[in-house]
């Protein structure tokens, strides 16, 4: 989540107080990522320092509330961010991927059980999200944010399924030949995947 840019987007139509920014942010993201007002004002302070928003005064009714407006530079920064690619081609450091790949090299560990353990846990999270989505019928923002999470988790399960299918075909994992050192180089070997 990029909270500063999300706040710039919410300020684009008109100047707003921090509390309203918090409420709009949560409404537009289905309340999946709660914000607190202090966090909003701290972020607005940094945006003001960078010249992206401007302080327009306080509220007569609630002195702690401050009104902020988007500047021209803020609007340009928002446009730049919206069009900046969010994928750069480098694979994210996925913990499940690393665990499964590492498990392949650990003697005495059943990789199939490691895969099933992660598949079950991922399904349990998907079930909880699906229940939330079922309850949120009609709340488009919440539904779309949960869809994003469910599709990400589904991809993880499909990767685990694919790994399992490959391993069951009896594939072998070639381990790299060790770099020769002080005369104790082990022979290159091929691990049979269980």
């Amino acid at each position: 989540m990029t909270i500063p840019h999300a706040l710039l987007a919410l300020l684009a139509p008109e100047a707003k107080f921090g509390l309203r920014l918090k409420e709009e942010f949560e409404a537009r993201t289905g309340a999946i990522w709660p914000l607190n007002v202090g966090q909003v004002y701290a972020t607005l302070g940094r945006l003001e320092r960078d010249g992206l928003v401007e302080y327009r005064g306080g509220s007569d009714d609630a002195p702690s509330q401050k009104l902020y407006e988007l500047t021209g530079a803020g609007f340009e920064e928002l446009r730049r961010w919206l069009h900046t690619p969010s994928v750069d081609g480098r694979p994210p450091r996925d913990e499940v991927v690393i665990k499964v790949m590492v498990a392949l090299t650990v003697p005495g560990v059943d990789v199939g059980e490691v895969i099933q353990s992660h598949r079950r846990q991922t399904l349990e999270v998907m079930q909880a999200y699906t229940r939330t989505k079922a309850d949120a019928a009609g709340d488009l923002a919440a539904t779309m944010v949960i869809d994003a999470e469910l599709l990400r988790l589904e991809a993880a399960v499909r990767w685990l399924d694919t790994c399992e299918a490959r391993l069951r075909r009896g594939a072998t994992l070639d381990t790299p030949e060790p770099v020769p050192d002080s005369g104790s180089a082990a022979p290159a070997k091929s691990e049979t995947i269980r």
């Binding site: 999946i32 998907m126 939330t132 988790l153 589904e154």
Partner: protein, 241 residues
Amino acid sequence: MSTTLELCDVTRTFGSGSTAFTALSEASIAVDAGELVAIMGPSGSGKSTLLTIAGGLDVPSSGSVLFEGSDLASLTRDERSKLRRSSIGYVFQELNLLSSLTAAENVAMPLELDGLRAKQARRVAMAALEQVGIADKAGSFADDLSGGERQRVAIARAVVGERSLLLADEPTGALDSVNGEDVMRIVRSACDSGTAGVIVTHDAQLAAWADRVVFIRDGVITDTTQQMPGPESLIIADGAT
């Protein structure tokens, strides 16, 4: 909550001797009224065999299948047929709708086969079509319906009347994700109303609609999900950036 379906140590072997193949091995599973269970596994894992045995369409080589406490093996052939028609609804991948019949006629057919008068069967069928949101297509022939509409008719036929068990094999078929979700909402709603449901699938998004996901590999039930705490536990804590 009463148990609607119970499989006890069910094994199903096809062929004999050196060509014998065990598709299902000592599978035990119980499904309560109002509960939706997903059986998840890859192609050839035995999940469809489990479903056909659960629905009385096939018989186990050993073990027993109890439907509302009655052992299917103790029923006569006619009694099993009547049970299948009146109490168990099926949604197959192929849907098996009759193209020469309208949506309402397709849904009413099992009721008429069970002896209900045509007029009354149609009234009940219309209620089922209403439940799945396509009452306005009641007069359309099956071939004139879209994939999503045909899927809904198949589900209406499966839940029509007093069915207490719904069995579905990949019930969203080739539907896109939003239409597939609509189908799962209907299945979920039927279960929330008291029907016991079993779906078999290899699709995690589909399985996630279930109360419990049972994993099957090589004909053996290997694992089951546990219910997580409330969804609030998934919400990212303050401070997310």
